[in-house]
Symmetry: C2
Subunit: 564 residues, 2 copies
């Protein structure tokens, strides 16, 4: 570990210290991996992936950098997973390939992880342990307790992570739902009990920390759906939501069944999770309600409901293809009702509204108000968790910096001392003891880019190249030269993504003349220098293009040498 230069408090004391280290290169900490370290034991909580930002052209996924864990491979005991969402489990196959330690997760979470491992052909090699809320797992110096919380997917848990340094609680993604669709409210009693015994630190979900009040119960959406299915009883209904929002899926199926509709599911991810949840008995589907998409046309439109992915305007998702008329079996009609049961995630607004506009043009009725509640706690819920646990330290996790900052302010308002609140960056090593808390250094961190089958091979140079190519295209200048630099063939100019036809003629022809001139000038008295010729070509052509049409393509000279 690369410690900071200056000495820290712990150099002089012998406190029992737990270290908390968020890993991963994303703005949002606490969903990639959060490592907890005590003496010779390290555990990882969650192991998520992220989707690329706009600048990461051609990149499929971003997974956490686990260099620190690999360097301390002997200490790493296990991963504990809070819930089955992609941003908390998606990195597991990539990380377990390098570090095959046991994984502990609740039942549905484990089932979702299994399908991930299966895709990577790793099912047999991974030790996946199925736990339940209330269970305590001892690994190395840690005891990890599973605590039931509410979220938008079943079996979400918080962890109470106890080491000789004390108990740290990590909420995972959570909300408090007094009337959840299934199951019971978050285990507030246990949070209270732990708080009474003494909690060293609370790592709480910051996603909705900027929102005042309480997140409404999932039951409030039930009323909406009942109303919608009644109002639109003469229409086909399509509902788009997150594949992973099982509670929502349950509501839609329940309502569709109650109103005598058949339900078909479109979208691979949704089909898969529904199958898992049904098999585990977590999703209750009345006999005969679910049908295959191909069977839908054999029922009257108003007796059908299509449940689909694409509520975020994702390019390849079912609803997006329906909206652009590119879905193989579903065409939208003016009689259809499309319900968006979700809110746009920041950054997806444009894509979502594009789908809404396209669907509206068909004359279909679009419903996208009052159709969604969040799965994350608002500020009053966070205050409740602080009140129950009374932590000595607060470490806001999950959410962008502005969200974590808001969570930090809530912590202070709940009497966590100002300098006991830590806004960490990825890679920071926070050391906590009963008497002191300090960021004592930082370790390797960052996102590892996944592109096709390549993991971590795309770096900044490649991304910058792609960026440049995408702006003004590329011009290739190929020429064959004799050993003394005379032109044997060419120059030939070829371009992609570059505009070359103008009113005044073909600019490539003009550039060819320029290139030819440069090569002939380069040759001769000064001898033959590949690199000099190349840079002179780039310079001459670049200047000419900028002057004439104010563009800046990549210019790539290729010189073939023709022997003696």
């Amino acid at each position: 570990m690369a410690k900071k230069g200056k000495k820290n408090y712990y150099d002089n004391v012998t406190d029992r210290i737990v270290k908390i280290i968020p890993l991963g290169g994303l703005e949002q900490i606490g969903m990639n991996i959060t490592a907890f370290e005590y003496a010779e034991s390290i555990i990882g909580v969650d192991c998520g992936l992220a989707f690329p930002t706009d600048e990461m052209r051609g990149i499929d996924l971003v997974v956490p950098d686990v260099t620190y864990l690999l360097e301390n491979r002997d200490k790493v005991r296990a991963f504990f997973i809070t819930h089955g969402h992609e941003d908390h489990i998606g990195g597991l196959p990539y990380v377990l390939k390098q570090l095959n330690v046991p994984v502990y997760a609740a039942r549905l979470t484990a089932a979702v992880i299994e399908t991930k491992l299966e895709e990577h052909d790793m099912l047999d090699s991974v030790r996946l342990n199925v736990m339940a809320a209330g269970d305590v797992v001892g690994v190395g110096d840690f005891k990890v307790e599973f605590i039931h919380v509410n979220h938008s997917i079943t079996d979400a848990v918080a962890f109470a992570i106890t080491s000789p340094a004390g108990t740290v609680i990590m909420t995972g993604d959570f909300k408090i739902d007094y009337t959840p669709l299934s199951g019971v409210p978050a285990d507030l009693q246990r949070f209270g009990e732990l708080g009474r015994q003494g909690v060293l630190a609370l790592l709480a979900d910051s996603t909705n920390a900027l929102r005042p009040g309480f997140t409404p119960s999932e039951q409030t959406v039930a009323e909406f759906f009942d109303d919608a299915f009644r109002t639109y009883k003469d229409h086909r209904i399509m509902v788009a939501t997150f594949a992973s929002n099982l509670d929502r899926v349950q509501q839609i199926i329940t309502n569709a069944a109650a109103y005598g509709r058949k339900v078909a599911v479109e979208g691979r991810s949704m089909v898969k999770i529904i199958e898992i949840a049904k098999n585990l008995g977590y999703l209750h589907v009345p006999e005969g309600v679910l049908v295959d998409m191909d069977e839908i046309p054999s029922y009257p439109a108003e007796k059908t409901c299509i449940l689909m992915t694409g509520s975020q305007g994702e390019a390849m998702a079912a609803l997006t293809r329906v909206s652009s008329g590119q879905h193989k079996s579903i065409s939208i009609t003016p009689e259809d009702v499309v319900i968006f049961s979700s809110s746009p995630i920041p950054g997806n607004e444009k894509a979502v509204y594009k789908v809404v506009n396209e669907l509206s043009r068909s004359g279909a009725t679009i419903v996208n108000r009052a159709t969604h509640v969040s799965g994350h706690a608002c500020d009053e819920e966070l205050k409740l968790i602080y009140a129950l646990t009374c932590p000595e330290y607060a470490v806001p996790v999950h959410g962008e910096y502005r969200h974590r900052q808001a969570n930090a302010e809530i912590a202070r308002s709940m009497h966590v001392e100002k300098d006991h609140v830590f806004l960490l960056n990825s890679g920071d090593v926070l050391a906590l003891s009963k008497t002191h808390g300090e960021v004592i250094g930082s370790v390797a961190q960052g996102g590892v880019l996944v592109d096709g089958l390549g993991v971590g091979d795309v770096g900044n140079v490649v991304l910058r190249d792609r960026q440049n190519l995408s702006q003004d295209g590329i011009i290739i200048v190929a020429v064959a030269l004799s050993a003394d630099g005379g032109i044997v063939s060419g120059p030939e100019l070829i371009s992609r993504g570059f505009v070359y036809v103008r009113d005044s003629g073909n600019i490539l022809e003009e550039l060819k003349v320029t290139a030819d001139h440069v090569i002939r000038e380069s040759h001769g008295a000064k001898g033959f220098d590949r690199n000099r010729i190349k840079s002179e070509i780039r310079e001459a052509l670049g200047t000419y293009i900028w002057k004439t049409i104010k563009r800046n393509p990549v210019i790539l000279p290729v010189i073939l040498e023709v022997g003696e």
Copy 2:
């Protein structure tokens, strides 16, 4: 004009008809150009530009396609401009270059247009006429009346466009502000008067049609600013807003002055519009309040206010550069207060929040609630305009389809007959007479892409190339062949934006062997066929790359022929 195949109502009657034709390739109609045509007269209202969507890589701007106007060049009499915002005037220089007709605009609008024309060196050649609310201009068969409305920039007007077919009102961007910062409320009396006389059609701004109620007065923001300047009296204050939101700029300057601060302005567009507005007497700046940015350090921080662009997270804007530590003279400190006086425009959320996160990390206080009111009318204001004008037909303009659809519903609720409400697409030709309204055809439409100095030369092929290049990069395979197809030099492989180093070695080396093999195979018995060799190289390399690393770069073979 390409009429629809079938006959229309007007083929058989001799009504007086006005045609309304939105031009431009954007989702939002009514801000590019709306053409009005009666017999031998055409006028254009507004002439905006749009910014490229994500798919339009490398494109700077999108301006309207005016093919229809050029085809009817003899009929086109003038452009009338509602207000001085970029999305309503930005296309003018491009269009006037092709069609130099007079332009009519109110005072500030004309001044902003002048600076545009100056940039394009067109100031002397354009006939720009300065009008005032209440003025009526007669051109051809049209009389166009300027009617005062409220918006976020001074001198915004609606037009009452009267031809023998009747009076059509186009609101332009508007809201109704009973207590505007300067000036008077929108001229509701005149709208009522025109309504009483009979209005054929209303083209109203749909931007906020989905929002219930009334847009609050700009005065409500005044209270916020007064409060903010008092609360943060010991801090430097930075405020980011739209350069073009002159009312907001006025408020900030007024408050800063009242609290004894000096104001510096950062951002070229904002400096420019402030200068224009000040010169016209539209912006009231107390003596000595505005100072140069370089003078700011000579005042105590708490006696300064920096007004800047970048409220939308625009890449090159002042605040964005400050947030990333790349501004030449402003460094953010924990003592600073940054006010975002704007809401993110859909699509800009991610960029805005990135700036917020970066600024938050510095410890500065970020204020972005209750700091902004919209410049567009909400649904109750639209109802008021419908109630005043009682139009026979409604043509919602401005806003995405979903907004225009909401405006259409408002029109129907205000007793415009269902089939008298038209949701047009760009290029549609709507013909209206007192007895009938119908879309009778469509004309050329679409956006013209501006890339560097090129206008309209970038087409779909180029955009698709750029898209492909940006995904997985490019590999160039260069080879020199003798006349009979034997390899004289190469093949050489060069790549950009493509990842070639793997654990197992350099994939370019492997590809080189493959390419060499393909070329040698191609040669020989079958003779020498450039195109066949090229396609075989593409095929062989493409397959190999996809199989080994699941990527799909552009593969570009270049063959140089070496004589005899």
